[in-house]
């Protein structure tokens, strides 16, 4: 296997044994970016010089005897995360040219751990979308089929791993934006529990839902990354004041006695046959490993989509009020302050972002608040209670990540609701603030399928352990696109 296609764990072993240097590895990945990213379009910005300098520093630390998980590993960062000295646009024209004066905590922790930051990855503008087609700058192509989308909103982060343009990447997930692109690109993607990873420096979309997480080939790789980025941060008051378990040490063992719930509601109407079959086959593998399979119900999950499109847009309309063209980013011309403000926002936000700001503003406006926002928050409580009830009987839940494999460009662009339906299997998990992971579990027509595993709050170690056990029995995570 070519260097740029190795897992993080394989790179780690070769770096630690001295068979490979971080500089050689970084050069190999940069050279693959040069050769292939013109067609994939994963990166908005590549920092070759910075990456090579970080690789050199990592080699010095390895030579001095340091043995830590991320040291010298080439990584990419979703462009919604602030990176000191590197452009951060959220794939929006409103932030064109913006260079943050500080690092997001998750980025700072990867850097301190010796991770090599290659650059910034494409996404749907402000993380709003499920195909990365809402980027103001470029399309990102699915490495398995260039006519198809990579999913979104972390489409660049998923495609980069699948195409060997980074060994691991950071994504963000508000309603499915790590898990769905991981599924569509055939990699592993973990959305941690809300509060597990500091959101400091992540440009806010919906603050009660946003969470940063790792994307890589395997659960083991995701565990290595999560180990570094998880934990309380004084810069984020919602980060959990809990100790971080040793995720790598938790891997291993069989699944004897693990109770896995299969929620009938997440095998949604309209799910593709190939997807359903692959997910059910994956559940059989868990059973062979000793798991006890139980059918369960999440009765309110059908309401997750309408709840999400009120709660998330309401929060977005407030968060995105900060883009006024005064302190950062672009500013449109106008005769007065107000004209400049309205022109900047009207001209420089893309159509989907404007639509969501409008919807959220409407839902929060006088006379509509109780009917929309308050009611959505009440139904959110019911969705959360469904999970609490389910986890009284089962340890984890298994479901599809997406009801379908990657679709063609433009296929869901005309009708916003059709695109929103892409996230129907991931939204309930986000609204409940729970951790979810997508692991590759098959192919349909040459396109990857993802199995979603969901656990109670702060059960990442168990989710990673079950995913890793599944990956010891299957080869889906070892396939690479041509």
């Amino acid at each position: 296997m070519k260097l740029h296609h190795l897992t993080i764990a394989d790179m780690r072993a070769r770096l630690d044994s001295g068979e490979l240097t971080a500089v050689t590895l970084t050069e190999a990945v940069l050279s693959n970016i040069n050769a292939n990213d013109t067609s994939v379009g994963a990166y908005l910005h590549v920092d070759s010089d910075g990456a090579l300098a970080q690789a050199k520093a990592a080699d010095a630390r390895i030579a001095a005897g340091e043995r830590t998980p991320m040291l010298g590993i080439p990584l990419g960062i979703k462009d919604v995360l602030s990176t000191k000295g590197l452009p951060t646009t959220c794939a929006s024209k409103v932030l064109e040219g913006y260079i943050p004066p500080y690092d997001a905590t998750a980025v700072a922790r990867l850097k301190n751990a010796g991770g090599v930051i290659l650059g910034k990855l494409n996404m749907d503008e402000f993380a709003m979308g499920s195909s990365t087609e809402n980027s103001a700058y470029q399309l990102t192509r699915n490495p398995w089929n260039h006519d198809c989308v990579p999913g979104g909103s972390s489409g660049g982060s998923a495609a980069a791993v699948a195409a060997g343009l980074a060994a691991g990447t950071l994504g963000t997930d508000t309603g499915g934006s790590i898990r769905q692109p991981a599924s569509l690109c055939g990699i592993t993607g973990l959305k941690p529990t809300y509060g597990r990873v500091s959101r400091y420096g992540a440009v806010a979309f919906a603050s009660s839902l946003d969470q940063i997480g790792p994307m890589a080939w395997t659960a083991r790789d995701a565990a290595m990354m999560l180990q570094v980025i998880a934990g309380q941060d004084e810069h984020d008051a919602t980060s959990a004041p809990l100790a971080v378990p040793d995720y790598l040490a938790a891997l291993g063992g069989d699944l004897k006695g693990v109770r896995v719930g299969i929620p009938r509601e997440l095998f949604v109407e309209g799910i593709q046959k190939g997807t359903e079959q692959a997910v059910r086959n994956a559940v059989d593998v868990l059973k062979q490993l000793g798991a006890i399979i139980k059918e369960i119900s999440l009765p309110h999950s059908g309401y997750a989509l309408p709840v999400y499109y009120i709660v998330a847009t309401a929060e977005a309309s407030s968060n995105l009020a900060r883009f006024d063209g005064v302190r950062y980013g672009n500013r449109s011309a106008g005769e007065s302050y107000r004209e400049q403000l309205d022109a900047t926002r009207g001209d420089l936000f893309g159509p989907e972002v404007r639509r969501r700001i409008m919807l959220g503003t409407y839902a929060l406006s006088a006379g509509y608040y109780d009917a929309y926002y308050k009611r959505a928050q009440q139904v959110r409580t019911l969705i959360r209670q469904d999970f609490t009830a389910a986890f009284a009987d089962v340890d984890i839940i298994a479901a599809p990540t997406s009801p379908n494999v990657a679709f063609k460009f433009g296929e869901n662009s005309d009708d916003p609701v059709a695109m929103y339906l892409q996230d129907v299997c991931t939204l309930p998990v986000s609204l409940a603030g729970l951790p979810g992971i997508s692991v590759p579990c098959g192919f349909d027509n040459g396109l990857p399928i993802g199995l979603q595993l969901i656990g109670p709050a702060f059960s990442e170690a168990e989710l990673l352990r079950v995913s890793d056990a599944y990956q010891t029995q299957t080869e889906w995570h070892s396939k690479r696109p041509a």
């Binding site: 309408p306 005064v326 302050y337 400049q340 639509r355 409407y362 009611r375 929103y420």
Partner: protein, 97 residues
């Protein structure tokens, strides 16, 4: 559930978004379509259900009461399109009457 054109114009004003006539028309039909989907929530019995605003269950998260260094002024304003004397510059906010 459908939105009137006047409602779309009012919400765009609240949201500080300049929209063209064509964009207002498109927004009217798209938002109406989304609200139609969202109206499913009206069927749920929410009597006595507390709203969920956040899921951490944390109360009063406090940081250490100590001074932290903040950004240098030059770094803080470096990304602005228009600055003067170390400050952000904007057009007059109050209009003359």
């Amino acid at each position: 559930m459908s939105l009137t054109r006047a409602e779309v114009v009012r919400v765009a004003d609240l949201a500080r978004l300049r929209l063209s006539d064509g964009e207002i028309d498109a927004m009217q039909s798209q938002l109406s379509r989304i609200l139609e989907h969202v109206s499913a929530l009206q069927a749920v019995d929410v009597t006595g259900v507390e709203p969920t605003a956040q899921v951490t269950d944390l109360v009063n998260a406090l940081r250490t009461d100590a001074n932290w260094p903040s950004l240098e002024r030059t770094a803080a304003i470096r990304n602005s399109a228009d600055t003067d004397l170390g400050m952000f510059r904007v057009k007059a906010v109050f209009e003359e009457h």
